[in-house]
Amino acid sequence: MNEQLRTIEFELNGRPTTMSAPVRETLADALRHRCHEKGVHLGCEHGVCGACTVEIDGRTVRSCLLLAPQAEGHSVVTVGGISGPDDELSPLQAEFSRQHALQCGFCTPGFLMVARELLDEGDLLTEDLVRERISGNICRCTGYHNIVEAILVAAEERGMRVERTENEEAK
């Protein structure tokens, strides 16, 4: 079979990385199979569920909607790159555990990537904003309640202002 392979040089979780992948392979598949980043998960492969979310050049993207060669020259961060050097959980990851914001874990890497981005954005986080910003990630296990709380608590721990709504009004 004549698959056209491309050598792709990029930065993965802070390390210069080279991978060889067919040009038509998605970035999600390439990260999983060429770079052994098994924390990148495939839940739908059509850009709805968000389980494949990674960060490229500081912005979250759905890696199932990108082709592997599109990583060339860019900086990619996956869930495999957000814990500490000895695999210690980041404060956000630790808060997810404390708040039981994960059950089966399949959606969790995607939520962590989106939450990280949200926590870097400003000094005020409302529950409405959190729900809106994570609405592009589907979780079938938790019902989102604990995910929202984990993000809000993590924000408070970072010194951000947080506004919770209990039984909020309809949006």
Partner: protein, 797 residues
């Protein structure tokens, strides 16, 4: 709130009643967990399935020669291959008297009966190549008219889908108690409704997958599968492929959600084993999202005709129901079990002396109907609670008053309802009152009133439920014709360094099974739960579970076996320590990492010393004491046990679009002894959210020709964070009276009351004087119509 806690308070050890860090979290949070698609044995080939594009057809021929010749293709299976090597797929539930034998094989052989049914399977160097190969397979279909509606399926003019059957009824049965005909004849009030529940499914975010390695060198078949029931899967594979069970090993990696979907057995599993044998290599099949809509068990869809007889002051005297389950074109591994359960569960928490409930399973050209969290109970609760609302409207009282009037009282327990349930525990009145109180404390009634003043439409609705959990007593299951036991076996072993491992046949699918079983063992042993490892998911190493993980039994059955095994281990530990300390075992207790004399904690030995003696330094144990340290228990429950509760929904309806938002939700749940409150809440949140999806968003839609129109997440809408509110939960603890430890199940509870509570809330928001919701999901276009039809939009009950 009443609650009982058995034994000492071991919250310092993270025992029963504690919230602790879950054992699985680190791996899941760092992306290191191994799901089935991460299992990649050397030389693995990839499998693609050729699926039927038509709903109903004879297969006149399958020509796979071109696929076989494609370089990189290692094996191809067609229906003829499967007919030669496999028996019919087993059906575990054969409890309907005249239930027909299943006609279902791992692959379609001479007929297809649903779009997406597998017609051929290919193993190749890559998934992409395997898919290319499937496109080279020529299938000669001779189409037959698709049978899609219940009425068509039941019509005598419609040929049966299954050749040799007289009709399209898979099975049918009626259950009766008292004298319903008399009750209805005498009734002041006789209400009739026909309700429809849409087709939905569990839809875990991770699809199904399997890696099969049939090692021709050793004769052993090694399988990795994200199955909720590994030892049952092992038996099914052995039975279908005519192997010895001992020659099959099933291992379970991390599972990305199950919800019952992964408790059923599927043709793909058999086909992968067969492909591996043929190719002489391991093979892997991963269901993609599109395939999940065709290939994973469908659920929920029913038509329910329900009648209520009552006195004019709201006492229910009779219930009649006929549930028609819209089965698929083939039979799933649970037969029509979920449909049956929805019929026999209909009386719920109510005292109804005269009941007749019928159930019929009808074949149509759809994906097979199988397990989904809640199984039958959500539909039973929908029917019963809708009729409670209907009766309330008829009489002009609040529906909570109807509930209060008709609930079985605690003084009547145990209460056998004459149909199926023996309600054993719980206080249904208290659950309802608690729910009403929480709603009041959170200002829900005021929000409703002030919303009206602003021209907004907010409504409140309630629903009560009971739920059979802890499936189940093996003898009862065998008598019912269920081909599986209901017991669980557990082993708790201490190694030579004093560390404890729990071995269970249960499956971890994110629900926190590993953590809670460790907590139960910690409670018995009085050692920290964080030091206890739980091993599951390997049929070579783990004990036997009669029924796997489903039927809300992981704690209520599996957990009891673990606790009992841990107790046996503790006794052994004390026996050895007693010898070493020359003190009676009655005066000793385990405390953390030591065994101490009660009242004189300085006198003791470490667990490490005891373990070392039992495995490696045998002079330090009594010569009559057996080496090694292990407890083993088989627990077979003596009865099912009934979880129960009440939920309330606060909804707002958009006046312009009819869209319904759930802006508040309360669930009061009695799951008996709570092992881990945070995990219990997590189960309630998640199950409720699935039910919100079922009430408002999710539907698998077929056209008249049997084409499935909903095959992406843009068609089948799963709830997002913007579709759910914060959840308010309250735990009641009425221990299961016949279960050591008092635990009941909780995994499914949240799915049960949400749809009827939301339905009632929608009607309340629309004025509360019209019975409108007769089908699920509740569509915004219908709400929009009801808004326009509303004569007095500001009226409220």
């Amino acid at each position: 709130m009443p609650s009982t806690r058995h034994g000492h308070d071991t919250t310092e050890m993270g025992g029963v009643g504690s919230t602790v860090q879950r054992h699985d979290d680190h791996a899941l949070l760092t992306g290191r967990a191994t799901y089935v698609d991460d299992v990649e044995p050397s030389g693995v080939l990839h499998v693609a399935m050729l699926r039927s594009p038509v709903a109903h057809a004879k297969i006149l021929g399958v020509d796979a020669r071109a696929a076989l010749e494609l370089p990189g293709v290692h094996a191809v299976l067609t229906g003829d291959d499967v007919a030669a090597m496999a028996t019919v797929q087993p059906v575990g539930w054969e409890h309907i008297d005249d239930q027909r034998p299943s006609p279902t094989y791992a692959m379609a052989i001479d007929r297809v009966r649903y779009v997406g049914q597998i017609v051929a399977a290919v193993a190749a160097d890559s998934r992409a190549l395997a898919e290319d190969a499937t496109e080279l397979i020529e299938v000669d279909y001779d189409p037959i008219a698709a049978v899609m509606s219940i009425d068509d399926a039941l019509s005598p003019d419609t040929p049966p889908l299954v050749p040799g059957w007289d009709d399209n009824i898979f099975g049918s049965q009626t259950y009766t108690t008292g004298d319903p005909d008399d009750a209805f004849a005498e009734a002041d009030i006789h209400l009739t409704e026909e309700l429809t529940i849409g087709r939905q499914f569990g839809c875990p975010l991770e699809g199904r997958g399997i890696v099969a390695d049939w090692d021709l060198g050793t004769g052993r078949l090694e399988v990795w599968a994200n199955s909720q029931s590994p030892n049952r899967l092992r038996e099914v594979i052995a039975e279908v492929l005519d192997l010895a069970v001992a020659d099959v090993r099933v291992r379970v990696p991390t599972i990305g959600g199950g919800f019952g979907s992964k408790a059923n057995y599927y043709g793909e599993e058999i086909l992968c084993c067969a492909l591996s044998r043929r190719a002489g290599r391991p093979v892997k099949y991963i269901e993609d999202r599109r395939e999940s809509f065709f290939g994973t068990s469908h659920a929920r869809e029913q038509r329910i005709k329900v009648e209520l007889a009552a006195t004019r002051d709201g006492q229910i005297t009779g219930l009649r129901g006929h549930v028609i389950g819209v089965l698929g074109g083939e039979i799933s591994s649970v037969g029509m079990g979920p449909v049956w359960l929805s019929a026999v569960s209909m009386p719920g928490p109510y005292r109804i002396p005269n009941v007749s409930l019928s159930v019929t399973g009808v074949m149509t050209n759809r994906t097979p109907y199988g397990s989904y969290r809640g199984w039958g109970t959500p539909k039973a609760a929908f029917a019963m609670e809708r009729m409670v609302e209907r009766l309330a409207m008829e009489i002009g009282v609040d529906s909570v008053d109807i509930r209060r009037r008709n609930f079985v009282k605690t003084s009547e327990l145990p209460y056998h309802n004459g149909i199926f349930a023996t309600l054993d525990s719980g206080d249904f009145h208290l659950a309802l009152e608690t729910c009403v109180e929480v709603a009041a404390q959170n200002g829900w009634p005021e929000r409703r009133v002030s919303a009206q003043g602003e021209g907004r439409r907010i409504g409140i609705g309630y629903a009560s439920f009971v739920e059979a959990t802890g499936i189940g007593p093996s003898r009862v299951m065998s008598e019912l014709g269920i081909g599986q036991g209901g017991f669980d076996e557990a082993v708790v072993r201490m190694d030579s360094t004093g560390r404890v491992t729990v071995y269970t046949g249960q499956a971890e699918m994110g629900q926190g099974m590993s953590t809670t079983l460790a907590q139960l063992a910690a409670e018995e042993l009085n050692i920290p739960e964080s030091a206890i490892r739980v091993v599951s998911g390997d049929t070579d190493a783990c004990p036997y579970t009669g029924y796997g993980t489903g039927g809300s039994r992981a704690i209520a059955v599996g957990g009891v076996a673990v606790a009992q095994a841990a107790r046996e281990l503790r006794e052994k530990l004390l026996e050895i320590a007693s010898h070493q300390l020359e003190t009676s075992a009655d005066d000793l207790q385990v405390q953390g990492d030591r065994i101490e004399v009660r009242g004189a904690p300085d006198l003791g030995v470490t667990l490490r010393e005891v373990a070392h003696a039992a495995y490696r330094r045998l002079t330090k144990i009594d010569h009559a004491t057996e080496p090694t340290l292990q407890g083993r228990s088989v627990y077979d429950p003596t009865s099912l046990t009934y979880a129960n509760g009440c939920a309330a929904a606060l909804v707002e309806i958009d006046d312009g679009t009819g869209a319904v938002s759930v802006i508040g939700y309360i669930i009061v749940d009695d799951c008996g002894t709570v092992v881990n409150p945070q995990i219990v809440d997590g189960q309630l949140h998640g199950a409720t959210t699935q039910a919100i999806g079922g009430a408002l968003l999710e539907q698998l839609v077929y056209d008249d020709e049997g084409q499935l129109l909903t095959t992406t997440f843009m068609d089948y809408l799963l709830p997002t964070a913007m579709d759910t509110p914060r959840f308010l939960t309250e735990h009641l603890e009425f221990p299961a009276p016949n279960t050591p430890g008092g635990m009941k199940g909780v995994g499914e509870a949240g799915t049960i009351p949400a749809a009827p509570a939301i339905a009632a809330a929608v009607e309340d928001a629309l004025g509360g004087d019209r019975f409108l919701v007769r089908s699920l999901p509740i569509r915004s276009e219908d709400v929009h119509t009801w808004l326009r039809e509303s004569a007095q939009p500001d009226a409220a009950t």
